[in-house]
Amino acid sequence: MDLRAVSDRSAASGSGPLTGRALVAGTAEGAVLYSSEPLSFWGGYDAETGEIIDRRHPLAGQVGADRIMAIPATRGSSTTTAVLLEAIRRGTAPAAFLTRGPDTFLALAAIVAAQLYNRAPPVIALAPGDFDALRRIPRARVEPAGTVLAR
């Protein structure tokens, strides 16, 4: 329903920064953890350790804490938001989220975390081509305007 909200313009072909829509604005820098597969945080992310525990997911066994997590979207359970909120409280959440179009579940968890804990990972919705370009970016910096710079 939200895909129209993101511009089709893609910067992926050039070498400049990618600019998405900051659903939740903020600054973060870290190693990019990329997958083209959607992830449910409930049953997929361990809030105690930050490990990805969905055994069927390509990122299974990786740790998301402090990484720039690039996933196309969340999927499945409506409890994803609760698991992410708990991870943010514990400090085991990713440093930022980059998605392929807007993901409302990630945005909600970040918005509630800002209310409860005064901190929230930025959530940036990218155009599809820009999201796919993240595959080749090992490390990135996210800026408040929704700009993503390769580092």
Partner: protein, 426 residues
């Protein structure tokens, strides 16, 4: 600043006129309305709350922030499963350190005026929203049932947001609330499903799993099966799609309220994608639902009831187990709601099930409360949702089979499955 058009009531909530809890709820709602690009909020007539699930101190803190801030629900509101079987948790391996905060979270939602239904299938016993009714439901399997089978209108509300809608009686006018966003997008042609498989109830969770992986968040339209599915079938189908994908609505041509015919289901548009599952693909999908447990291997637990077991499922199970007894090494657990348990007791179904050695847990399920002892390592289920989440959430092996397979396996003490329907040809 927001570009969402707010009316006087919305502004009163935001200004704190209705208390701090309601102010917090409305401020989150308005932020989310901006995120989804809604121009305004709309009135809802009912809500179903998934936020009641205890996931650690953060979810309890959120619930108590609202409740202590005087938040009260404005519309009839049912509660999804909780983090603990309120009265029965001591019979399993739940620790006091988990049960205490989980119970506190239950109390917070009851204090906000929610009905203590504690079930992921409220449509089995509670008042159902009608066709076209605007509601705010959480719980992925309940959302897809409300939209698809009941024809009510709810967006896929995540935990933390459903309660904000209930407390304000409002929801962003976006997504599946709006007619134009409810058109089918993917055509699923079921004419390649063999008749014998079409008559097998385990087809539905498997088919849902297969579809969810392929359509992700889009709206599938199903047609061409020679058999009319029942409500339990549609419950299993939707829950599976909502686990492996992010499906909030499907149409079944000639069956669901918004799909009297193909044209209506697609609102006159052309499907963007067509899928046609055949017997080989469905057999593969069935096997994918299992993880780390093969046929003929030993078994510790048969678990049924995700989404919560219905009265008609209790009737079917009672018929299968009557006069029999489970293997000494295999426990059988059925997860259901309090209301359905009472009805199943009254109907006499529980006599046969308890004589068989079956046990019941209410209010919650194996995925949402840490109830299984360490000694239980190998599970079997007829639920795609249980099968999908067991490896990650419970770190245990799981096999998927039909209800009859589950009963036979519980008696045999090892995984036994009748492959007849799955190897049939069209």
């Amino acid at each position: 600043m927001t570009s969402v058009r707010l009316d006087e009531r919305d502004l009163a909530f935001l200004g704190g006129d209705e208390g701090e809890g309601a102010r917090l709820a409305m401020s989150i709602l308005v932020r989310m309305a901006d995120v989804v690009g809604a121009r305004e909020l709309l009135d809802i007539t009912a809500a179903h709350i998934d936020s009641s699930l205890y996931q650690g101190p953060a979810t309890l803190e959120f619930a108590e922030r609202l409740a202590d801030g005087g938040a009260r629900v404005r519309v009839p509101t049912t509660l999804n499963v909780s983090g603990v079987d309120e009265h029965g948790w001591r019979e399993w391996d739940v620790s006091e350190s988990w049960a205490a905060p989980a119970r506190r979270q239950m109390e917070a939602y009851e204090a906000m005026g929610c009905e203590p239904t504690w079930t992921c299938a409220p449509y089995q016993t509670q008042a159902r929203p009608g066709v076209g009714e605007q509601v705010a439901w959480g719980e992925s399997s309940a959302i897809v049932f409300a939209n698809s089978v009941l024809g009510a209108r709810t967006e896929r509300y995540p935990d933390l947001l459903d309660i904000c809608c209930a407390v304000t009686g409002r929801a962003p006018a976006a997504g599946l609330h709006l007619t134009g966003n409810r058109a089918g997008q993917v055509f699923v042609d079921l004419s390649g499903v063999p008749r014998r498989l079409a008559e097998e109830p385990a087809l539905y969770p498997v088919l849902g799993h297969w579809i969810g992986l392929r359509v992700e968040g889009r709206i599938p339209v199903l047609d061409g099966l020679p058999v009319r599915p029942g409500e339990d079938d549609l419950k299993a189908l939707g829950a599976a799609m909502a686990s492996s994908g992010a499906v909030g609505l499907f149409h079944w041509v000639g069956l669901t309220p918004e799909a009297p015919d193909l044209d209506a289901a697609f609102q006159g548009r052309e499907p963007a994608t067509r899928l046609r599952p055949g017997p080989a693909a469905l057999r593969t999908a069935r096997d994918e639902l299992g993880s780390g447990l093969s046929d003929a291997e030993g078994l510790d637990l048969v678990v049924l009831g995700s989404p919560h077991f219905s009265l008609s499922e209790f009737a079917a199970l009672a018929r299968l187990v009557k006069g029999r007894r489970r293997h000494a090494g295999v426990r059988m657990l059925i997860t259901t709601g309090r209301a359905v348990r009472a009805l199943a007791r009254e109907a006499g179904y529980l006599d046969a099930i308890e004589s068989f050695g079956g046990e019941l847990t209410v209010d919650t399920c194996i995925l949402t409360t840490p109830m299984l002892p360490e000694s239980i390592r190998r599970l079997m289920t007829n639920s795609a949702k249980y099968a999908w989440y067991t490896p990650g959430l419970l770190e245990r092996a799981v096999a998927f089979g039909s209800l009859a397979d589950c009963v036979e396996s519980a008696v045999a003490g090892r995984v036994t499955r009748d492959d007849g329907a799955w190897t049939s040809e069209p």
